[in-house]
Symmetry: C2
Subunit: 926 residues, 2 copies
């Protein structure tokens, strides 16, 4: 392994820290100027347009030049400092540099003049990302830094200056990655005001109620001015603040004005922070393309302000970095307020809740999620197969880019969203060779047993398109299950025949059914359940029995009931509303909110890609009646419902499933009435929620929410709907002492519980106004194949359980939803002696243990991440500690790393921080 030993780095790190941080003055107010650039990994331009400085007509920004310029300018004065964040850009730049430039940059890094913060591939979104993808994107960035710069390149600080709200799970991950501190810029305006008053802008975040402190404790600092410089002190080429004019021979000598103004700002800022150190972020979006402007004026500022010390002035200004600033805070040896909830939702004014992006671009959000699943699986395969040079790097980078806070968030321009999708598609393309090769990343001796034949992947299966299955009389289906436990999975294949036989790997016949396809793309659909072994595959063989006309509709008009051994679901034949046979009724409605056009009296804020602002707190019902069809087979029973030409759903109950599947299809959202629309689905139950509900944080731990309430301050609610929306990454639930209704989602969405007993999820929105947050376009998705507006389809899994066993249901359900099996196809007969089934494990891992990562690391080793996927005390059984190992792994040695795999676990030495007594709120899942 190429990991540098921490001992080596530690020795040097300490030296470097001492040397690289400028001395501060104890009796003075020390102002840490932190030169930085915020380089979105795509937003108004694509990541590559940003890198090159292309399309400067859209936005002037060229990251290649930023890095060129900053390196040049750092060399001009060794006092200068700079921090850099996004490895997606730095990597592009680095690989095009000469070795002499690379050597120079290494020297700058070694001396602490160029410091990496965050160090992930991007600065991830916190509301719409899944934790596994965030860990991956952090890992590839941090590993790149390690490999390039050794221990000196390892960031000590995370830097989430722009994301629109902050997830507790992010803080937990960052703590486990070994970061000493976390800085961000955006938080609720009421929260900001209170924290300023109380000097609570720096705090200790206890980011998990399952991990033993301080494992998930993270020191958190809220930056004074977002991430911008103080007003009047922006000296970038993108700004127009007056430069320091210090030549008395020329006009408008302004040194005294500038210094005077700076001292006022610094002294004022010091009143809302605890120590005699304050930080100023000297930079902003894509700044420092011509770093000379900044540094030349900062040099002068430092010179002229500190010159006042000779006259007794007590302000000391210095070039600094977040880690140098953090070091001083740590040295202050104070106690800090403790926080245990999160920073959602984010509002920057009374009617400006950034909760629309939880759902924005639902198709992209789904494509990102399924890509995550695909990548999870692909990295289990080695880099080279017998069928070519397939590699997972392209997909890894595409996924890492997609985690950016204007990517999966859905807040980018349309052409940029298209580019993210294109990048993912390109990643899939590169992975396909791997998938076709079907190796598994396991010790070499075992690989040779695996079969080698070319398999076809049907990437349009989601819209029932697969030429192979549609045209073949005989074909085999290979089901690869990347999870460490067996899965059962419904397979739905487009076919043209009316009857098929399906047999499993042992030749045993499997129950299957052909029905008319619910979607409009294929003729018929062959449905059967497959069962795949843990970390392995199995093979099903399908043969046509009967060709000819489509089978007669098997639908039964009455009674409108579907049921299996676990559930009975009835439908109101008129309204289509569903009832589930349990103590509670689940009523499913599909109302919509109209988006605010921004012209009402309270505020001009319209709904947009970022902001959610319905023009009424009462949703409009799309239709009070539904057209319904019921199809019952031995494999699945389904009710197809059409509420409007643009809203339909299929309610499915598989024979052996405890969960009810709702497949929703929404779009094109009509806009003939010139009103944008936010479409929600709402589950009304008799569960006594007492205004509480629960949403997950990045797909991992679940947090308690309460309507019109923030645990840490006295909320004044000004948006009754939007202000109660939270991100749902994989699940949300409502419960009382007896029952719990959990909804597992197939992508990140926004939702809330506006009425007691009710849970609503926003599925899709189409908006006609721009919400004034920079993107400059309304979120009105139209494409070549959807000229009238995007049509989106998705799945919700509903499970209604007794409270004690609810987690035992939703944890595996969500694990299977997030990380799906991969289906590949071979036409005709398989070669003789083909191995039809294989498992990498002798036995499944226990339910509590999630195989988070299994990936080739280098020639000799694999990176393995095992995770306890239950929160403490959510399940009597599963929340317990467990141990288990792989069946086929010959373990020659194990070395434990931090979460981001860039530091040995036993060398991870983080700053210790003391919480204030009596602070913190145990608000979460108890």
């Amino acid at each position: 392994m190429t990991l540098p030993t921490e001992q080596y780095s530690c020795i040097h790190r300490v030296c470097v820290c001492v040397q690289s941080c400028h001395a501060t003055k104890p009796g003075m107010l020390n102002v840490h100027l932190v030169p930085h650039t915020h380089d979105d990994v795509g937003w108004l331009k694509t990541v590559d347009q940003y890198y090159y400085g292309d399309r400067n007509d859209i936005q002037h920004a060229g990251v290649q030049y930023i890095l060129d310029s900053v390196v040049d300018q750092l060399l001009k004065n060794q006092d200068r400092r700079f921090i850099y964040v996004e490895m997606a850009f730095f990597y592009r730049w680095w690989k095009s540099q000469s070795s002499s430039v690379q050597q120079t940059v290494k020297q700058l890094v070694n001396e602490g003049r160029l410091e990496f913060v965050n160090g992930g591939w991007c600065m991830s979104d916190e509301a719409a990302t899944h934790y596994s993808a965030v860990i991956d994107q952090m890992t590839i960035g941090l590993r790149f830094l390690n490999e390039t710069f050794g221990a000196f390149g390892r960031p000590r600080v995370t830097w989430h200056i722009d994301p629109f709200g902050h997830a507790r799970e992010h803080a937990s991950m960052f703590a486990q990655m070994g970061f000493d501190g976390f800085f961000f810029g955006r938080l609720d305006y009421q929260d900001r005001a209170r924290r300023m008053r109380n000097k609570e802008q720096e705090l200790l975040w206890r980011a998990s109620d399952s991990l033993t402190p301080p494992m998930a404790d993270l020191f958190t600092g809220i930056l004074p001015n977002g991430y911008n410089p103080p007003e009047g002190f922006c000296w970038d080429q993108l700004c127009s603040d007056p430069p320091i004019r210090d030549d008395p021979d020329l006009e408008d000598y302004n040194v005294d004005d500038v210094v005077g103004c700076f001292l006022v700002i610094a002294n004022s800022q010091s009143t809302v922070y605890k120590t005699n150190h304050i930080i100023m972020t000297m930079g902003s979006d894509f700044q420092y393309e011509n770093a000379n402007l900044w540094y030349k004026n900062l040099d002068k500022l430092i010179h002229y302000v500190n010159a006042r010390q000779a006259n007794g002035n007590k302000v000391n200004v210095l070039y600094s970095t977040p880690s140098c600033y953090l070091q001083e805070l740590h040295r202050a040896n104070l106690t800090w307020p403790l926080k245990t909830d999160d920073f959602f939702p984010y509002a920057d004014d009374a009617h400006d809740f950034w909760t629309g992006y939880f759902t924005s671009r639902p198709a992209l959000k789904r494509y990102e999620r399924i890509s995550n699943s695909n990548l999870y699986l692909v990295v289990q395969l080695p880099g080279k197969g017998p069928f070519g040079e397939g590699e997972s790097q392209t997909m890894k980078k595409a996924m890492a880019v997609a985690q950016h806070h204007d990517a999966v968030s859905g807040t980018e321009k349309q052409h940029v969203a298209n580019d993210y999708a294109r990048k993912l598609a390109n990643g899939w393309q590169h992975c396909r060779v791997l998938q076709a090769s079907q190796y598994i990343v396991l010790p070499n001796r075992i690989q040779t047993f695996l079969h080698r034949f070319l398999r076809i992947y049907c990437e349009n299966l989601n819209v029932s398109v697969c030429p192979l299955t549609e045209s073949s009389k005989k074909f085999s289906v290979n089901v690869y299950n990347p999870l460490a436990r067996p899965v059962t999975w419904p397979v739905r294949l487009p076919v043209n025949g009316t009857a098929y036989s399906v047999s499993d790997a042992s030749g045993k016949a499997v129950d299957c059914q052909v029905s008319m396809c619910a979607s409009s793309f294929a003729v018929n659909e062959l449905v059967f359940q497959v069962q795949a072994p843990p970390l392995g595959y199995t093979t099903y063989t399908v043969a046509l029995i009967q060709d000819g006309p489509p089978p007669a509709p098997a639908q039964q008009r009455a009674p409108p009931v579907i049921q299996n051994k676990f559930l009975q679901v009835t439908f109101d034949p008129e309204t289509g509303l569903i009832s589930i046979e349990l103590p509670n009724d689940v009523l499913l409605k599909r109302p919509r909110y109209n988006a605010s056009a921004g012209n009402n009296v309270e505020s001009r804020q319209p709904s947009g890609a970022y902001i959610f602002r319905p023009n009424s707190s009462t949703p409009f019902i799309i239709s009070r009646t539904a057209k319904t069809e019921i199809i019952k087979t031995s494999v699945v029973q389904e009710v197809r419902q059409w509420f409007a030409p643009w809203v339909s759903q299929v309610v499915r109950l598989y024979a052996d499933s405890r969960a009810l599947e709702l497949e929703w299809t929404v779009g094109p959202v009509p806009i003939d009435d010139s009103l944008g629309k936010e479409v929600i689905t709402r589950l009304d139950t008799s569960i006594k929620t007492s205004e509480y509900f629960y949403t997950d944080s990045n797909g991992r731990e679940v947090l308690q929410r309460k309507k019109d309430f923030w645990p840490t301050w006295n909320l004044k609610q000004s948006e009754p709907i939007a202000g109660n929306y939270y991100p749902i990454n994989s699940r949300a639930y409502i419960k009382d002492d007896v029952d719990q209704l959990t909804v597992v989602t197939d992508r990140s969405q926004g939702g809330g519980s506006i009425q007691n007993g009710s849970l609503e999820i926003m599925l899709h929105h189409r908006l006609l106004h721009y919400d004034f947050r920079g993107v400059g376009e309304p979120l009105n998705e139209i494409s070549g194949i959807f000229p009238d507006g995007l049509v989106v389809r998705g799945r919700l899994l509903l499970t209604l359980d007794p409270l004690p066993t609810a987690a035992d249901m939703h944890r595996p359900l969500a694990e299977g939803m997030v990380l799906q099996p991969l289906l590949t196809f071979t036409a005709g007969d398989l070669k003789p002696n083909t191995q039809l089934e294989f498992s990498g494990l002798l036995a499944a891992l226990p339910p509590a243990v999630h195989l988070l990562t299994l990936s080739q690391w280098d020639e000799d080793s694999v990176l393995l991440r095992l995770e306890h996927q239950y929160q403490s005390s959510e399940s009597k059984v599963s929340s317990q500690a467990v141990t288990k190992l792989f069946s086929t792994l010959e373990v020659l040695g194990v070395a434990e790393l931090n979460l981001s795999a860039n530091q040995w676990k036993d060398e991870m030495k983080r700053f210790d921080w003391t919480p204030e007594k009596g602070t913190g709120h145990q608000c979460c899942v108890s």
Copy 2:
């Protein structure tokens, strides 16, 4: 003297030239890429705002950063080249650099990687400047370069890429300054089209009909694209053209597109030039603030285009400079078309004649001209006097800045115009100590004879304000005459008494008169004629005889005639029109043109600071009647006429004068009718002009003009008035075989002869629309003391002479108008033994010899420029050759320099060029 010897520089220069110019390829099309920035010495921002990058909200531009960045980038790749033009900026930058940066820059200059072109303090305007001020501004820039960089810093090429039309006198000066070539960007669109067709964009300009060729021959190149890069190839931060994206791993690889497009442009450009070398100006206004953007992409362009040579492509691209390009043209050893006229007026489209700026900001134009006179005088005084550290450098630089093509041209924003005036006022302030000291720059032994007493300068004498003369019962007037011949000058002093006695230096009484002040600021005006000796001063003593009420008006209502021994002028009592008693009548009218509001059918172009476009070819008469007063005294006879509340004039005839003075006052121009107005004065005569008329070029040689005619091509006239306007810097005349009417102006103005026998001059204009040439403001001058619009006053001297002696009249008349005596005052009695009169010359220089410069050069030497001020054959007597020397100069040695005093005359070796046979037009004064 610090001048480097040319022998030294020659040897090195040749070496450097050979080394510093990249090799070209004979069999290929060589494309010379010339990276450059065009840095206006004030325009939308003041010169210091531009230098610092202040007020970037108005325009993004910061020259300090441009020079920082270019130096850095030149060091990155020794193939790169850059040229720099404006010493006003370079000097500011240079003096703030560390010695190590200075050393680096010297190295770059020595190696030809940084080349200075032009090298004056600014890129002067060619239409509104006086040649003496242009020589001064070039001299201070070129001398700075000489002193800083030695011979390597001496520019070989002038570079007037932006001025709006080109004066022949400029070309003549540049030739005499030793320049090898002249490049510019703007010329008439019809002329451009013709020259492209005929490959005549490179030519030999014979810029004087008096100097023996090739003394005033200048090779002139017209740049292909103004001064901008070809379309699609602007890689500055101010542009949005796509960068070269050459990483195949990233999106949108575009190397093939860019190279293909470049080859099309290069090959197309080569069809309109003569040689296998073409030049491309890679830069524009204030570009290269972040030079990395340009150079990084240019490096790639050169690399990828030249890489095509391996496949047989015949285009060779190289970094180059104008002098390297010129060297290749010279090597081509071709003949070039000869041109003897000039490039006025400039039109960039059929209705877009840049002839308004000839008159724009008439008050600034006058202030610049009188400042020139003041500076001319002040440099004759040494740098330090007994009354303090007065110096002329501030004034020299202020005047040099004022020569810029958006300064005296009047085409800058209002706040910038204010700044130019402020800079001049500041220059005056610094000069005042000198003036008060009254030394003369002559060998030390003589200085001690000069008197030393504190004198007061009345800077508001032009509006009849001088507290000293208004309040003193006795005072003396010192008249310093900077010219090399005696002058007679009318003195008009504001006083409160009604009778005074005036005596000259010898105590002799001088005829004087008190009359009511014509202007509104003072009570009475004391008028007398003074006579001052050459290059020296005399003193008049004034004593009050009678205090009390103002004298009774001495005006005589009839007959409306004023006359002296030379002239008789009669007035039409009704219309105010003037007749001069000579074979011809001179009729003075004062019509106005309305400015075009830009909404007529032919073009939307309105009149503005640059463009003149009246909405009618027939001017409106302001008034057909005039209110008239006549005042006759023994000193002066004057007729005061009011045509409207905002237009008046005083016609004056002094007792001994051959010239008639017209003092005009125009303003505030009324705009109640929402129409801008261009106010002209028109002289209608019976002179048979046959459509010819004559205007001077920068105050020196006079060129023949013909209505609706250009000597060098078949003009298609589309603007009958504006298209016939030419700059008048000091004089214009019309003539026939017998008579010549000459008008000498006190500032630069625009004018023309629209009708036979008529000459019109635009005095003032006030405009309500912006003319779309960048300045972004209408030319609507309003200030604190002129809240209703600027009031401007000026003088025209009319002289009507027999043709053979006309030049003998107008040459000294204009010389005296341009370079006026300076009046200073002392209250009470002078100290005993004060020397009341002094002349630096034993005898006056002959009329033909103009003392162009007399200025302290260094401790031991003076810079002396003597000029033959008559054009060849314009005067039988005065056009002859002459010799003469100073009376008091002890000439220890004389060394002759080029015109800009940065090279020994005998070492001035310029390229020789061969004109095409049969080209050139002898169109000028014959």
